[in-house]
Amino acid sequence: MPHDALPRDGGPVIEVDRLTKRYGGTTAVRQLSFTVRPGRVTGFLGPNGAGKTTTLRMLLGLVEPTSGAATVDGHTVRRYPRGLRHVGALLDAGDVHGGRTARAHLHALARSNRIPAHRVDEVLAEVGLAGAPAGRRVGGYSLGMKQRLGIATALLGDPPALLFDEPLNGLDPEGVLWVRGLFRRLAGEGRTVFVSSHLMSEMENTADELVVIGRGELIAAESLTEFAARGTRPTVTVRTPDAGTLAAALSAEGAAVAPYDGETLKVTGLSSDRIGEIAFEHGLLLRELATETASLEAAFMELTADSVEYLAGEPR
């Protein structure tokens, strides 16, 4: 389904320029600037509470920025009287009225933007909700079905720019594969595709470009390969029956040690050779000693370590 209204040089540019949003005392987004280009999938990464949803809402004209600007194709979305043909969005799969059927929900949206009614059946078929499910009330849908309906809503206007906030939530493995394929295809058609997530692993097989934020501020905006190269410090996994003693010994040598489970430690700052020597000096039995190649996950964790707001299960 090629987009006949797409310009030859691809979809529009999404531009965020010194964007700031304050809620009373908290600053959700601070002086954030980045650009999202057409023809590729751009991942929008950040830990919980980083400001991803707030940024996307400002892009859609739902939340008024305290200062700065968020534009799609050079205009704030509030300037478009009707939005669906300009930007398609899935913000929260729950942003529907549970008392309506999926078909009625999409029908009303299509009508408001003068989108022909047959588009409703097209997008329902595309997301796998055609037939009986479309006639059921959304209140009875599973999270995955709501997520699919949200994606159908985003696709309804065949828009050149698409925003997705945590679209993989609640999808089964088959659904995740399908969504990844869909994003690839949309980008391949020259559209601008911007997808948020708080899990690096989700982006690993999805995005070409990354915008990484933490505590509302920009941390990185670069290609996935460039980003991966940042995770230079390798992590060594060590398994030993006496993890406590080894952790103390390694820390004394200046390593950063994170207990993984009762027997396993994740160590950075020391090579596996050196860790083996230290264990030997202390007469400790090692059951595993492995260096992990720098992963995206590690790069992400390292970069956002300072900006994680909600740490859970941290041993004191």
Binding site: V63, R85, L91, D92, D95, G99, T101
Partner: protein, 280 residues
Amino acid sequence: MTASTTALPLPAARFTDLLAAEWIKLRSLRSVHWALGAGALGIIAFNTNAARADYVNFPHYGRVVRTHFLSWALRDAFTQGAAMMLVLAASSIGAISIVGEYTTGLVRTTFAAVPDRRALMTAKVVVVAAVMTVYGAFTAGASFALTQAVLDGRGQGVSIGHPGALRVVVASALLAPVCALAGLGLGALIRHSATTTVFDVFVLLFLPTFVTDRYHWTACVRNALPFNAWYRLVDVEYGHQPFTLTPRYPTTVTGGWIVFGAWALAAAVVAVVAVDRRDV
């Protein structure tokens, strides 16, 4: 608006599309069907039952009552209790048409699809007002026909051509859109279902009976409330009836219509303006 990047012209934004969309939204909610259906049944049954009671009791009424029975007949056409039910049903429909969007989160989907929020809210106002006018006309018309048919059994029913009869029907019919818009306006301001319901009931049903008409300023407040305006409009023998006192600060029929119009207009403006700049 310029659709600068897109190669093909986008269809122009038409207000009628928004009207159609809001109409789809209103009629696709089963709860709306239930509320309106049950409300209409209750209202019509309530009025008809009042007429039935008068029909049964008529032989026992005194001579004075019988000669002044016109005001009874027209009071049965749309009773106070039925008007209260209508106020409740109409204001609830008006309120849920916007509060339902906020509480479910649908409002974000709606505003992303239609960033021109004022146009969208204007469409909502028009659709709610139109639907509730039809609804009011149906309940008031059916009530009038049924009650007068019952009273005809005693030769006491009046025709719609009777002086004041049409006013009773029209005022009762219009009470529905006025209260629906009040519910919509309050809902747009408050955005929470329970609080909106409490406010609706307080302003539209409680205040009208609670505020005294003893002092000038309280009488002004009282007379400016839609329910009291309705009461004045349907009181066909106002000031000429031997059984009731003339109020100290009397009101006029014109005043009643003005109150209706002012509430509808003010509520519509509030609904359109209140949502425009607030974050969702």
